[in-house]
């Protein structure tokens, strides 16, 4: 262990320069969480490396400004990281609630307004599930688009509870509300639930018409503050980062809007450094695959 530990120490320089393979990066990121000296080393070296970048500054075309601002303001922001807390009773209750609800309505009719296109199947035990009776929230478009707030409440109900901080976070971005509404009201929406390898259950509601999906989870394992769950769109043209989710009390996470969904995309989740990665660097803990 100490030999490999020494090996890891020597990666600080390459790591600060991003001169490591994805595998090395993942290994070192884990090491960093338990090596204070390494964190300090990396911090200092990154300050120096940043100046190499500053020295190369060039002005972008002026028209990129408007374009970039518009794209940003239309994008959801990640919730602040809440200091890690032990799962609290409310969270557990919410989770239990969801389970018992599911058990109480095993035969509840599937939402007939949700078609079953060849859209998605979850790898894993649970597999493909259609929207159940509890999803009274899945209403036709006209009703769903009435009020973003109602949609949010509906989402909360469907997904078995959302923390109030998550709701406040959602409240901040009208665009996100609209997108959630668009996904929930899209005729081609499908909902998939799958177990998360490391613990917990993830749910994805996706719509190719809306070009987006809504991700939520409960019972997720808490991660060290240096790590987070990152959502990926994985398609024929490569992997795209689609947002970080941070479990709150009881391992609740989301709803997180996954934008830019394209036909053929899989949606997966990996554990990454808290600031996110640009490509998945660890195993997928859950993946929703398009149906062949």
């Amino acid at each position: 262990m100490s030999a490999s530990r020494h090996e890891l120490h020597t990666l600080a320089g390459p790591y600060a320069l991003d001169a490591v393979s994805d595998a090395d990066r993942a290994g070192f990121a884990t090491h960093l969480s338990e090596c204070e000296q390494c964190r300090e080393d990396v911090r200092e070296m990154r300050e120096a490396a940043a100046r190499l970048g500053l020295a190369a500054s060039v002005m972008p075309r002026p028209d990129l400004r408007e374009q970039t601002l518009r794209a940003a303001f239309a994008s959801a922001q990640l919730a602040p990281v809440v200091p890690a807390a032990a799962p609290s009773p409310p969270g557990l209750l919410a989770e239990k609630d969801l389970v018992s609800e599911a058990q109480n309505s095993p035969g509840s009719p599937a939402d007939t307004s949700a078609p079953e296109p060849g859209a998605a199947a979850a790898s894993g035990v649970t597999g493909w599930q259609r929207l159940r009776g509890r999803a009274g929230a899945m209403r036709p478009p006209a009703r769903i688009s009435l009020a973003a707030a109602a949609v949010l409440a509906a989402v909360a109900a469907v997904l078995g509870g959302v923390t109030s901080s998550a709701l406040r976070q959602l409240d901040r971005s009208k665009q996100q509300d609209h997108l959630i509404a668009a996904v929930l009201s899209a005729p081609d929406r499908v909902m998939v639930t799958a177990p998360v390898m490391t613990g917990g259950t993830a749910t994805l509601i996706m719509s190719h018409q809306a070009g987006a999906a809504v991700f939520t989870a409960h019972g997720l394992v808490a991660l060290p503050s240096t790590e987070g769950y990152e959502i990926w769109l994985m398609g024929p043209t490569g992997d795209r980062a689609a947002g970080m989710v941070t479990p709150q009390a009881g391992g609740m996470a989301g709803p997180e809007v996954v934008r830019g969904l394209r036909p053929g995309d899989m949606v997966g989740v990996t554990v990454e450094p808290a600031r996110g990665a640009s490509h998945p660097t660890s195993v997928l803990v859950v993946v929703f695959k398009p149906r062949p």
């Binding site: 020597t10 990666l11 600080a12 320089g13 390459p14 600060a16 320069l17 991003d18 001169a19 490591v20 393979s21 090395d24 964190r39 080393d41 911090r43 200092e44 070296m45 990154r46 300050e47 120096a48 490396a49 940043a50 100046r51 190499l52 970048g53 500053l54 020295a55 190369a56 500054s57 060039v58 002005m59 972008p60 075309r61 002026p62 990129l64 400004r65 374009q67 970039t68 601002l69 794209a71 940003a72 303001f73 994008s75 959801a76 922001q77 990640l78 919730a79 602040p80 990281v81 901040r172 971005s173 490569g238 980062a241 947002g243 970080m244 808290a274 600031r275 996110g276 640009s278 490509h279």
Partner: protein
């Protein structure tokens, strides 16, 4: 946010100019952005877009791709502003780390199609350009001078990694050196650079 003339322009360099009373600190801007403050984000864009584009373009070399990645980076800054932790480094380093990481990821996926020979050839050109890239302003001059205080090997290792996006193993191959040597040179080079620049 405060009124700023020339809002449409990016600052070229020097986070030090942010010390002017009327200009908010980069940290504060990021904190405001984390709360969804659009004006703060505009100011942050103006402050950092030149840094981001410059870094990304050094690595990617393709201007169109660089613009695309610059936008991705600034989007990521908007999205993940709440994750900025001053305890883990300066705001400048946070922004630049995101920018560099994205650029490197992109250039590597582009390169995965290229042959080893082509990569080696590109690397030499890349590195020759590095010194040109850092010669415009006083700050550039300072960085250039500090790069000059590195040994040639340190400078090559740091430059090939930072400006060309190679992993230390690739740098080792390009320079025909043992990977362990390259790792050490990168570290030593960065530490010397840090001391020379007086950062951290």
């Amino acid at each position: 946010m405060t009124e700023e003339d020339g809002r449409k322009d990016c600052e070229g360099l020097a986070p030090a100019t942010a010390a002017t009373a009327a200009v908010p600190r980069l940290d504060d801007l990021i904190s405001a952005v984390a709360l969804g403050d659009e004006r703060a984000y505009e100011a942050l864009y103006d402050r950092s877009c030149g840094w981001v584009l410059g870094t990304v373009r050094r690595v990617l070399r393709d201007p169109a791709q660089a613009e695309e990645v610059m936008q991705e980076v600034l989007l990521e800054i908007w999205r993940s502003a709440s994750r900025f932790d001053p305890a883990q480094g300066s705001a400048v380093a946070w922004v630049m780390t995101i920018a560099h990481r994205r650029a490197v990821d992109r250039v590597r996926s582009e390169r995965s199609h290229a042959t080893r020979e082509q990569r080696a050839a590109t690397a030499v050109i890349d590195y020759d350009d590095v010194t040109e890239a850092v010669q415009a302003s006083l700050d550039r001059e300072r960085v250039r001078r500090c790069l000059g205080s590195l040994t040639e090997l340190q400078r090559e290792c740091v430059g090939l990694a930072y400006y060309s996006g190679y992993t230390y193993r690739e740098v080792a191959e390009l320079l025909s050196l043992p990977p362990g040597t390259v790792k050490t040179r990168m570290r030593d080079g960065l530490i010397r650079l840090r001391d020379c620049l007086g950062v951290a």
